[in-house]
Amino acid sequence: MKFFTHLKWLAAALLLAQLWGCKKTDDRPATDKPEITFGTTTGEYKVKAGKDITLSATVANATAPAYSWKLDGKIIGTDLQCPLPRIAIGEYFVTFRVDAAKGSAEEQVKVTVVDKLPPQITLSLNVVAYLGRDNRLAATIANSDDAKYAWRLNGTVVSNDSVYTINPSTPGSNSLTLKVWNDDGEDLKVVTLVVLPPPVAELYFDDGHYRLPGDVSTKRLSIPVGKTLVLAPVISIMPRPATFQWTVDGAAQPSATEYLSFTPQTLGTYLVTVSAGGVTGKVNVECVAAEGTYFRAQQAGNIALATKAFEYVPAPGQFTSYGIGSTAGQATQDLQNSLDMQITNGYIAGLGAYGGYYIVGFDHSVSDVTDAADLHIGGNAFASWSEPGIVWVMQDENGNGLPDDTWYELKGSESNKPETRQRYVITYFKPTAPAQDVLWIDNFGGTGSIDYLQQFHWQPYYFPMFINSDSYMLTGTCLAPTMIHGGIDTSPGYAWGYVDNYGDGSKKDFWIEDAIRADGKPAKLKYIDFVKVHTGITGKGAAVGELSTEAGVPIDLNFSK
């Protein structure tokens, strides 16, 4: 079945995503010494009094080796395998030695003989299962010989096996308990089992606003006549297709890649579709009047700061506080109130975790001044703690005063790096009760959570509850995390081009000439009218919860006073 292929692919991607995280370098010098590894994953052996156990070692880098195992000064074995003699209950440290042609080595391994050896469960606290399919749940059990199992879902026993397979039919949170026992005792773990709708393979076009799953409506992009729009779909929960098929108003296009360069010659609306792997996405592209037609020159009474709030949709986070009964309109009004205060040295919105955003507009068009910075957007970064936000800009191409045209990303120092992911999507799931972590999945099948930090922020929901759905999707560009967890958590920034980022000073502020098309080539915008900023990174600090961008108000740097 196609789905199971996807599942295997998801698992691989998930593993890759985890490996791709923190790397440790191994600084051990090359040596002629033999290398010893013991046959226990925990660094020690535990055995019940009266039972037999064999200590084992593997040795590398040893020619003509001789082995010995020593306990309390007496040799108890001379092979790689050493049956433990009967010894009393207690803690012992057995030394294994290798004498080889080029050198010798000794390592100790701990052996504990106990009176009783009950089983021990390791099970993660939040378990996810998908609706309408088999989910196989298992735990790692230590000392599981002769153990018995009982899984309970919301109080009812559902399995007596070491593995529990569940095919849930209702979404939501459940209480899952696993009890494992043997003659020596038992262990019990209670976890939350969250049932989520299964992620679905999709190709769709991002219009800069949040998206609800299952939304199959056709979004809208625009392009002034005489210019080229480069289209690229968001690829979600499917392996990257090798080829794509594009049509415009039904006519096949020559491009077989994820990009389509579209240069309409006449005004009007065109239906563009892209298909791959049996999935199709579509978007309406409106070809509008030539660039400049709706340019708004600066007039008396205008100000340099952005003046109008169009949308404020934070991602979940410890500073996001829109509870039940709140509305999207209230959030936008909160942003408008911040703009009205005309703060230039603070921030106007906390965007929450990855993808949270605001959209604001100016009372005049902001021109691109060649070889000069055009926009200033403040934040609250300092050295060793940056939470970079990505800046997008838009011209009012159709002249209707609304940000419903085409967004162009302003490139930054990380733009062409392989670790930077464009058209990256996180789906956040609405909690089913107050004080819960917010779970998320991304378009690669990765999962994570925004932790509820009871001791710091106790508003009942970190998720913006005005979202009228069980989940919502935030799309944008995601930078590779720089967060260093060694020592004090630091989040060093990137060289240039991001909001709330402690840059290296090489380039300051934002330049309209950095606007790029979806394929990374310059968009050559002469002016812009709207700005969108979204949090461009994922990651948690140990003591501080998730990274989230705080963005100030965009300011026209070339405004004539």
């Binding site: 600084d27 660094g43 020690e44 207690g90 803690e91 012992y92 440290f93 030394t95 000794e106 100790q108 391994v109 701990k110 106990v114 009176d115 009783k116 021990q120 390791t122 606290l125 986070g317 410890q318 500073f319 906390g350 609250n380 300092f382 703690w385 939470e387 930090l453 001791q455 710091f456 967890h485 060694g486 020592g487 004090i488 958590d489 600090g541 140990a542 003591a543 501080v544 919860g545 998730e546 990274l547 989230s548 705080e550």
Partner: protein, 380 residues
């Protein structure tokens, strides 16, 4: 999002110097014994106080006058509004400065040794113990928030320049690391893993001080706490056990980093003087819901328990919860503190070298950590 809470606390200390003073509480001075003279002029006793109470305090015993000064910090530092802070966990002297680790305030308070006046703070989250070597202070940190969490993160050791009080480097070690010793240019640190209960850490990490990188972990036992160096190149390691079926125990690591002895001796804390390790244990059990209190002396040459008491006149029956222990290295007098009920003032007991009661006095809440000084505290 940035660390709002710890930064606010930190700013509070930095900016507090200019605040006007309400009258700071003066110390309570109690003459407890005739004055004596000698190279050791006094000792500081750091009282932990209960977590969340912000009542950590500093006492001083002056040998010359034989008087005990309870709570000396406020009058010497009237500008520090929050006084010492929350949970004093360690106190050490290095050069001309006195360092107090204030665990839940996430900082090390640095004072002038001669006056106990505030010099500066070193901000380190969830800091626990410190040790010194070649101009650097090494501070252990749990790193994460004060929270039981099965996924609690690894801790680290911060390397601090004692001239500038700036953190120069950090080295990640095991989970919830505690006390450290330095031997042969290597730093050893006990990893407790206490927040990850019941999956405690069970290792001692070893850091090469040339590279300040962790070179290995030695498996010893769960929930490790104290490390003490004896005069024979051995390190004593204590485990708190799991408070249920795995008891507290004491281990010896030799100069080749091997565990050579399992003493089968529960230990809450110990101090080594000459060839004797003085040990007490206040061992809690969730099974019996009681504490079992024991005292012992280990001969560090023979590496075995040679006595089951070092208080020899029955005074130990008066001590409800032994919490801190120290031996005056010159006189060999024995000091044991009693935390009592943890929420009211404790007591400090002084004994002769052969364990007979000399004097006792009231201290701050949860008296715990000692530092003997060769510099008489001024302004008494």
């Amino acid at each position: 999002m940035k660390k709002i809470m710890p930064i606010l606390v930190c700013l509070f200390f930095v900016l507090s110097c200019r605040k006007g003073d309400d009258a700071a509480i003066p110390p309570t001075v109690t003459p407890v014994t005739p004055g004596t003279s000698g190279p050791i002029k006094g000792f500081f006793l750091l009282n932990e106080a209960n977590m969340g109470s912000n009542k950590s305090s500093l006492d001083y015993f002056d040998y010359t006058s034989g008087a005990y000064h309870k709570n000396i910090y406020p009058t010497r530092n009237p500008g520090v509004v929050k006084e010492l802070g929350d949970v004093g966990n360690d106190i050490q002297i290095y050069g001309s400065k006195l360092y107090a680790v204030i665990n839940v305030s996430n900082l090390v308070e640095v004072m002038d040794l001669a006056t106990a006046k505030h010099i500066g703070t070193i901000t380190i989250p969830n800091c626990r113990y410190l040790t010194f070597d070649k101009g650097y202070a090494y501070v252990s940190s749990y790193a994460g928030p004060v929270l039981i969490d099965p996924n609690a993160r690894l801790g680290y050791v911060a390397k601090v320049d004692t001239a500038t009080l700036k953190v120069k480097d950090t080295c990640v070690v095991g989970y919830q690391p505690e006390e450290m010793v330095i031997r042969d240019n290597k730093l050893y640190i006990a990893n407790s893993g206490g927040y990850r209960v019941p999956n405690y850490d069970n290792t001692v990490s070893v850091i090469d001080l040339n590279t300040f990188k962790e070179t290995k972990k030695i498996t010893v036992a769960i929930n490790l706490d104290h490390l003490k160096l004896d005069g024979h190149g051995n390190i004593y390691v204590t485990s708190r056990g799991d408070y249920k079926t795995t008891p507290s125990n004491t281990y010896i690591l030799d100069a080749t980093d091997k565990v050579t002895d399992v003493l089968n001796l529960p230990a809450g804390n110990l101090t080594i003087c000459g060839d004797s390790a003085y040990v007490y244990s206040t061992e809690w059990s969730y099974i019996t819901n009681k504490n079992t209190i024991t005292y012992a002396i280990v001969n560090t040459v023979q590496k075995r328990v040679v006595s089951r008491s070092f208080i020899t006149d029955g005074t130990d029956k008066k001590i409800a919860i032994p919490y801190g222990i120290a031996i005056n290295p010159e006189t060999r007098e024995i000091y044991v503190t009693d935390a009592r009920d943890y929420v009211t003032p404790g007591r400090l007991y002084c004994f002769t070298p052969d364990g007979k009661y000399k004097w006792d006095v009231e201290t701050g809440d949860i008296p715990a950590h000692f530092a003997f000084t060769h510099v008489a505290l001024s302004g008494l």
